[in-house]
Amino acid sequence: MFDGYTASELVSILAMQGFAGLILFSVFLLMALGLAIIFGQMGVINMAHGEFMILGAYMTYLTSTITAEYFPGLFAGYFFVAMLVAFITAGALGLLMEWALIRHLYKRPLDTLLATWGVSLILQQTYRSVFGAREVGVSLPDWMMGALPLSDTIEVPINGLFVMALTLVISGIVFLLMFRSSWGLQVRAVTQNRVMAGAAGINGRRVDAMTFALGCGIAGVAGSAFTMIGSTGPTSGQLYIVDTFLVVVFGGAQSLLGTIASALTISQSQSTLEFFLSGSMAKVFTLLVVVLILLIRPQGLFVLKVRKA
C-alpha cells in the first residue's frame, strides 16, 4: 500500500494525517471526557450524550448568528461567549434530566440506557422542529481561518490548533477539578463507596447532580468545538455516541488517563488508515481492533484498582 510514494511524501502524508488525527482526537476526547465523568464515575449510560453535544453546537450556531446580526464588531470573539452559553445550557439541561429521570434509575443501569435513548429521540425531534432538518454550519471569524505552513508540504489549519488548545485547557480543568479540588474528592469518594462517603458527611445526591451536570456541560463545549470541523444536524450526535462509548470503555471506564490514551489510539489509527483504505473500511478496521482488544482485555487499557463493595 506504500507503492508510488517517495519517502518524503510519505512523511508529509503521515504528518498531515497525524495532525488530522489529532484534531479528531481533540473532539473525541472532549466528548469522551464528559462521558467518562458520567459513565466512569457514576455508572450511568447516557445515550443522549451526543444530543447534549449537538445542543452545544446549536447554541454556538445561535450565538454566531446573533452576533453577526446585532454585534458585528464583536464577531471575532463570539466563540468564547458561545462556549460559555453551550456549557451553561447543556449543563442546565443535564441537571434537569438528572433530577427528573436519572436519579430514579441509579440502581438499574441498563434501564438508564433505554430511558436516555428515549430522551435522545425527543431531543433529536426537538432540534428538527426548531432548527430544521438541514445541517447548519457556523461561519468562523477571520483569525480562525487559514492554515499555518510548517514546511513546503505540511500545513496545519488554525481552527484545528484552536480545538486542540481548547481540549488541552478543558482536560486540564477537569483534572484539576477531579484530583485537586475538594469537590473532586467527594465525587471519587461517592464513586468508590457511596455508603461510607455518606457516613463521612458527603451529600451523595448533590454530588451526583453536579457530576452529571458537569459531564453534560463538557459535552456542550465539545459540541461547540465540533462546529469548527463539521456541520451540525439533528442526528449528528448519534453518529458519535458509539465511538465515544468505545473510547471510554477501551480506556478503562474509571480512568481519565485511560480515556485520553484510548481517544488518541483510536483517532490516530483511524485517520492514518483513512488515507490508505476507504473511510468506512478504516473505521471498520479501527472499531474491529478495539472490540477484539476488548474481547481479550475487557477491563480496558487502564484499570483503577478499587475494592468493590
Binding site: 441498563l110 440506557l113 430511558a115 425527543i122 470503555v249 473500511m281 473505521k283
Partner: protein
C-alpha cells in the same frame, strides 16, 4: 413441559389472533404489514429470554436479524440473477449491484447460497455461531451488563458500516432488493403472501413454545438465579458463562429466523435493519410488551410497530416524541411492561370473575424484581 395451563391458554389466544382474527379482519396489504411486525416479534421473544430471564442486554440483536435476513436475501438474489435474467449485464449471472460496481465474478462467500438447504442452515447457524463467539469470549471473562451492551452495540455499528461500505459485495446502503422467486415460486403474488404469513405465524408460535420450554425448564430457573445473584450461582458450581452463552445463542437464532422471514415477506433486506437504531427499537418492543413475558414481547412488537405506522402516516413529526416518551414511560413507570400491568391488574380480577372460588390458586403475578444488571 411447555408451560402452565395459563401459558397455554394465552398462547392459544395469541395463535387465534394472528392466525384467524387478523387474516380475516385485514386486507392483504395490512396483513403483510402485520407479518412484517411479527418478524420483529422473533427478536423480541429472544430478548425476553436473554435480557428478561438472563439479564443479558444485547443492543446488537439487529446483527442477528440482519445475518438471517441477508442469508435469505442472498439465496433469493442469486436465483433472481440467473444468466438468462441478467443477460444485459456485462457479466451475466451475478447480482445486478455487483455488475454496477464492476465486479466480474461472484465472491466466494456468495457461492454456497446457490443451495437452499445450505441457506436454511445458514439462517440459523450464522447468527448462532456469531453469538457463540461473542458470548463465549465475553461471558467467560465476566463481561456483563453495561459493557456487554456497549460492545454488542459496537458490533452492530461495525457490521452496518461494513455492509454499507462494501457496496459491490453486499448491495450497500440500498441492500439486496428486487427479490422474486423461491425455487421458481413467485413470492410476490397474493397467495404466496398468505402462505408466507401463515408460515411466519406458525414459526413464531413454535419459537414461543420453545421459549416457554426453556423458561420453565431447569435452564430458565438457573438463568433467573444468575440474573439476580450471579456470584451465588457461580459459587454453587454452575458454569455461568455457558448458560449465558447458550441463551444468547438461542436469542440470536430466533432473530435470524425472524430476519429470514422478513426478507421473504417484505422482499428486500438492507443495512437499515442491522444497525444500532433498529437494534434498540427491538429492545423497546420487548420492554414495552414486558421483558419477562414471551407473549408480551410479541404483543409489544405488534403494538409498537402498528403505532409507528399509524403515527408516521398521520403525524410524522410526532412519532419520535411519542417513541421517546414511550421509552421513558415504560422504563420509569412500568418496568414489567404491558404484561406486568396485565398480570398485576387485569388477570386477578379476570380470574375472580371466571372461577368465583375464593381459593382460586392465582400465583401472585411476577414476583421477580426488575433485573438490575
Amino acid at each position: 413441559m411447555f408451560g402452565t395451563r395459563r401459558d397455554m391458554i394465552g398462547l392459544l389466544i395469541f395463535a387465534a389472533l394472528i392466525l384467524l382474527v387478523l387474516p380475516a379482519a385485514l386486507d392483504l396489504f395490512r396483513l403483510n404489514n402485520v407479518g412484517k411486525y411479527l418478524t420483529y416479534a422473533f427478536v423480541a421473544v429472544g430478548l425476553v429470554l436473554c435480557w428478561g430471564l438472563g439479564g443479558v442486554l444485547s443492543l446488537g440483536q439487529g446483527v442477528f436479524f440482519g445475518l438471517g435476513g441477508y442469508a435469505m436475501a442472498m439465496f433469493l438474489k442469486l436465483e433472481a440473477s440467473s444468466p438468462e435474467a441478467t443477460a444485459i449485464q456485462s457479466t451475466p449471472g451475478i447480482p445486478d449491484f455487483m455488475d454496477w460496481n464492476q465486479i466480474t465474478e461472484l465472491p466466494w462467500f456468495w457461492e454456497p447460497f446457490h443451495n437452499l438447504g445450505f441457506t436454511i442452515i445458514a439462517i440459523i447457524a450464522l447468527p448462532t455461531i456469531f453469538a457463540y463467539i461473542l458470548g463465549a469470549m465475553l461471558f467467560k471473562r465476566r463481561v456483563g451488563g453495561v459493557y456487554f451492551a456497549i460492545i454488542t452495540q459496537a458490533v452492530a455499528s461495525i457490521l452496518t458500516i461494513l455492509i454499507v461500505g462494501q457496496q459491490g459485495l453486499t448491495g450497500g446502503i440500498n441492500g439486496i432488493t428486487d427479490l422474486r422467486t423461491l425455487l421458481g415460486w413467485d413470492i410476490r403474488d397474493d397467495s404466496a403472501k398468505y402462505i408466507l404469513y401463515y408460515l411466519n405465524g406458525f414459526l413464531l408460535i413454535a419459537v414461543i413454545l420453545a421459549g416457554q420450554f426453556i423458561k420453565n425448564g431447569k435452564i430458565g430457573r438457573i438463568l433467573v438465579a444468575l440474573r439476580d445473584k450471579e456470584d451465588r450461582v457461580r459459587f454453587t458450581g454452575y458454569d455461568v458463562a455457558a448458560y449465558k452463552t447458550f441463551i444468547f445463542c438461542v436469542a440470536a437464532a430466533f432473530s435470524g429466523i425472524g430476519g429470514a422471514m422478513f426478507t421473504l415477506q417484505v422482499g428486500f433486506m438492507s443495512p437499515s435493519f442491522v444497525g444500532i437504531v433498529p437494534s434498540i427499537e427491538m429492545v423497546v418492543f420487548c420492554a414495552l410488551g414486558g421483558r419477562l413475558s414471551l407473549l408480551g414481547a410479541a404483543y409489544g412488537a405488534l403494538i409498537v410497530n402498528y403505532a409507528k405506522t399509524v403515527f408516521s402516516e398521520s403525524f410524522p413529526e410526532l412519532w419520535l416524541f411519542a417513541m421517546g416518551a414511550l421509552f421513558i414511560g415504560v422504563v420509569v413507570a412500568f418496568p414489567q411492561g404491558l404484561a406486568g400491568l396485565w398480570q398485576q391488574y387485569v388477570q386477578p380480577s379476570l380470574i375472580r370473575l371466571v372461577s368465583r372460588k375464593p381459593s382460586a390458586t392465582a400465583p401472585a403475578g411476577p414476583t421477580a424484581p426488575a433485573p438490575g444488571e
